[in-house]
């Protein structure tokens, strides 16, 4: 069989089938088009301005390593005029970070970039290993995620840098969109799709230049550029909703490669359809800039192998809560319908005693819309939609030597892993 020529240069032999669209390309053309697409994203979204100092959230993993490599290349090729700095977080997980931090240190030399490592212990007084010791192996992803997000911003602040870029890729974004649909979390659905969070007024902006890049292409790029990265999975527990969404994304990609991008597109469009009452974001603003991202939970940060947040019982917990809600609200309906005159006088947490809620169309249990507005934490001054930011809440609990947030401490070990297996099985059968 004659070798297939590259679809772009038509001369070299095609060695790579592009995961995104199955185009057959040679190595050189693949590397070029991958870089040019990131360049396209950067320029069309006006992500940077000349003279900006940019911190690259670097975990030593493939995504952030590719991001650092590509940004360095583009900065030189197109003279962006950026000052690039590597920023790493040391969660204090023995055996997990040691190797990856070594990778980041080598990257700093290879890319000739300054490196700043910020430790959880210096920021919060707790390493993750200490947190796990205090609260157990379950639910600790919440702590890790909340702490890491703030850590990047705080680290950037220490360096006097106003813009952090992270290695989130298209698969991550698509996964987050499906996950938030499954969890019924519209505010996060709306926020997670924008390429930039925070605006000129916020102390630290965040962006994800790899938002449209397929994970598989990132791996290919790293491989063909022979990048030095460290692949590891976080030692602690995965999370059911994200795990479920992830395998769904993988299956979708198999059936229709464009599906990842199509989900991202859907998410961007849906963000515009989320009622303002839910997000606190005015639709008059550019869709690309969303204000509130301070709670730091909408996405697993790139450094965390599993992107997990709490353990596998999350789906079962939510199921239970939803059922209780439903039961409670159906009882409320029953009462109101028997007391015809009492309807307007009564207050209902769940149903909202508005007249239109009786027309049968709008009457949904749990239709309460929570408004989120951006403020600052009273304790640490960090951006937050709550009075006290999540990190401070968690810290307060930790410092009292017990977790403040109840994150399914009541589920037995065994039960939880059975459930997780079930979820995995469920995902696998859809293959």
């Amino acid at each position: 069989m004659a070798p297939v020529p590259c679809a772009i240069c038509k001369t070299s032999r095609a060695l790579i089938i592009r995961p995104k669209n199955h185009q057959k390309l040679c190595k050189g053309c693949f590397i070029t088009i991958f870089e040019e697409e990131i360049h396209h994203t950067v320029t069309t979204t006006k992500l940077f301005s000349r003279g900006d100092r940019i911190a690259i959230g670097a975990s030593g993993g493939k995504d952030s390593t590719v991001l650092a490599s590509v940004l360095k290349t583009l900065n030189e090729r197109y003279n962006y005029g950026l000052e690039l700095v590597l920023l790493s977080i040391d969660e204090g997980i023995k055996g997990y970070r040691d190797d990856s931090l070594e990778t980041v240190k080598r990257n700093a030399v290879q890319y000739d970039m300054p490196l700043k490592i910020v430790g959880y212990d210096e920021l919060y007084g707790w390493t993750m290993d200490q947190v796990v010791e205090a609260i157990g192996k379950k639910g600790n992803c919440t702590y890790c995620g909340v702490f890491r997000r703030q850590a990047l911003d705080r680290g950037a602040k220490m360096l006097g840098i106003k813009h952090v870029v992270t290695g989130h890729n298209a698969d991550d974004v698509a996964e987050t969109i499906l996950m938030n649909l499954l969890r019924g979390d519209l505010p996060r659905l709306a926020r997670s799709t924008s390429i930039v969070t925070g605006d000129e007024s916020s102390e630290v902006r965040r962006s994800k230049p790899l938002k449209y890049a397929y994970e598989k292409e990132i791996v290919l790029y790293a491989h063909h550029k022979k990048l030095d990265y460290f692949s590891t999975e976080c030692l602690y527990s995965p999370e059911a909703f994200r795990g479920s969404a992830r395998s769904l994304i993988k299956n979708l990609e198999r059936v229709r490669p464009s599906a990842i991008l199509d989900v991202v597109r859907s998410g961007e469009d849906m963000a515009k359809l989320v009622p303002e009452a839910v997000t606190g974001i005015s639709h008059c603003k550019s869709q690309k800039v969303s204000l509130s991202s301070a709670d730091g939970e909408e996405e697993g940060a790139a450094g965390c192998g599993t992107n997990g947040r709490s353990s596998g019982g999350e789906m079962a917990d939510m199921e239970k809560k939803l059922q209780e809600d439903e039961e409670a609200s159906s009882r409320e309906v029953e009462i109101t319908s028997k007391v015809p005159n009492g309807v307007n006088g009564q207050r209902h947490d769940r149903i909202g005693a508005k007249p239109e809620s009786r027309n049968g169309v709008k009457r949904e249990p749990g239709k309460k819309l929570t408004r989120q507005t951006l403020g600052t934490c009273k304790t640490c001054g960090y951006m937050s939609s709550q009075d006290i930011c999540k990190a401070c809440m968690l810290l307060e609990g930790l410092n009292k030597n017990r977790p403040k947030m109840e994150i399914e401490i009541d589920v037995e070990d065994e039960e939880s892993s059975t459930l997780r297996r079930k979820m995995e099985g469920l995902a696998l059968t859809a293959a």
Partner: protein, 365 residues
């Protein structure tokens, strides 16, 4: 309303030892959604016409049974009914033998529920619609008389020209909806009653999201006026698919003989070429429904909260007919396209036809 004290719905039979209670629970949930179609006042008004698409699946069979009883109740009490059903079956089969079977089955429905008007159409009748941009599909305009090919041939040709199994299913679904809207309008119906269960609506939410049609969700899963100028209603939106399957076997006599059960997606085979996104999602929610029924319902509640964009300039998609905000049509020229040349070249040819992202993806692969 004796059934509101309802136990968790994950194992219905365990809680509803008597099938009668369970059947009443299902009926109540559906009828609650029909509150706008109660008989009101003493002055007789003309019955409102509602289109009822009958697929022969357990959900639509169950809903027809429930509404038939509902109407009987209205006649018994008031000697008149608030609405009448125009039942239509759209045949998706392209084989003559299958079609014969469908028409026999429809006759069984007629004799079991005789008070309604029945009709049957083949999906190829959608090819006669003049509000679809056939050139976008590389099809001749419907008026061009092409006597050599029958409608069925043309449909086969159209579906066969789609680049993937997902695209085929997608275009069939779209044509089906457009045809139903047309039938509803021709019969002066004010609304279409879709028998989609919660499970089906959750599937639809994620399927449309995965096909890049997130923009269209406010019109795909919510009750109310559709952009086609006909109301869309989903009276079974509070019931799980498995509940309806059980219900259909508990009626007296059971509906089982009237139902064609779709195989449990056994054709999700090793070959991803034949698998569709619709299959994937159906299978996914079938399993979520087993262990986490409330999460299925929560997905639907969530997507029902999305609101259509107001005030933007829109144009109807040439295929699905849904409103597309200006500048958001096609699969090119958005952030994820990352190719600065694509949009410009598309607009140069002068005849810029509007297709939504999802339809454009289906046609172009």
């Amino acid at each position: 309303m004796a059934v509101v004290d309802v136990a968790p719905s994950d194992e219905p039979l365990q809680y509803f030892c008597k099938s009668k209670c369970f059947s009443q629970y299902v009926t109540t949930k559906a009828i609650k959604r029909m509150e706008t179609y109660r008989v009101r006042g003493s002055i007789a008004k003309a019955a409102r016409k509602l289109l009822f698409p009958l697929s022969f699946g357990p959900s639509s069979a169950s809903l027809l049974y429930i509404l038939d009883q509902h109407l009987q109740g209205q006649y018994d009490r008031m000697n008149r009914a608030a609405y009448e059903l125009i039942v239509v079956h759209i045949d998706l089969n392209l084989e003559a033998a299958d079609r014969k079977q469908s028409s026999e089955l429809l006759d069984q429905y007629k004799s079991r529920f005789p008070r309604h008007t029945y009709s049957s159409l083949g999906l190829e009748d959608a090819l006669l619609l003049d509000n679809i941009d056939w050139t976008a599909l590389n099809m001749p305009e419907p008026l061009q008389n092409d006597s050599k090919n029958t409608g069925m041939d043309k449909l086969q040709q159209l579906v066969g020209s789609m680049p993937s199994a997902t695209s085929k299913t997608d275009v069939i679904t779209t044509l089906l909806t457009r045809l139903l809207v047309d039938v509803a309008k021709r019969n002066c119906c004010e609304s279409i009653l879709f028998a989609d269960s919660t499970t089906r609506l959750a599937e639809k939410t994620l399927t449309e999201t995965a096909k890049g049609r997130g923009f269209s969700l406010p019109w795909q899963v919510s009750d109310g006026m559709s952009p086609y100028g006909i109301g869309f209603n989903y009276p079974l939106r509070d019931l799980l698919k498995k509940e309806l399957v059980i219900f259909s076997s508990l009626t007296i006599p059971p509906l089982t003989d009237l139902i064609i059960l779709q195989g449990p997606s056994s054709h999700i085979s090793a070959s991803s070429k034949l698998t569709t996104i619709d299959d994937l999602m159906a299978q996914y929610f079938q399993s979520v429904e087993e262990n986490y029924p409330s999460i299925v319902a929560n997905v639907v509640r969530t997507s029902s909260k999305l609101q259509p964009l107001s005030g933007d300039e829109t144009a109807a998609c040439g295929l699905c007919g849904l409103p597309v905000a200006e500048g958001t049509d096609g699969i090119d020229g958005w952030g994820g396209d990352q190719n600065s040349a694509s949009r410009a070249s598309e607009q140069q040819d002068g005849k810029h036809k509007v297709l939504c992202y999802g339809c454009s993806r289906s046609i172009n692969g």
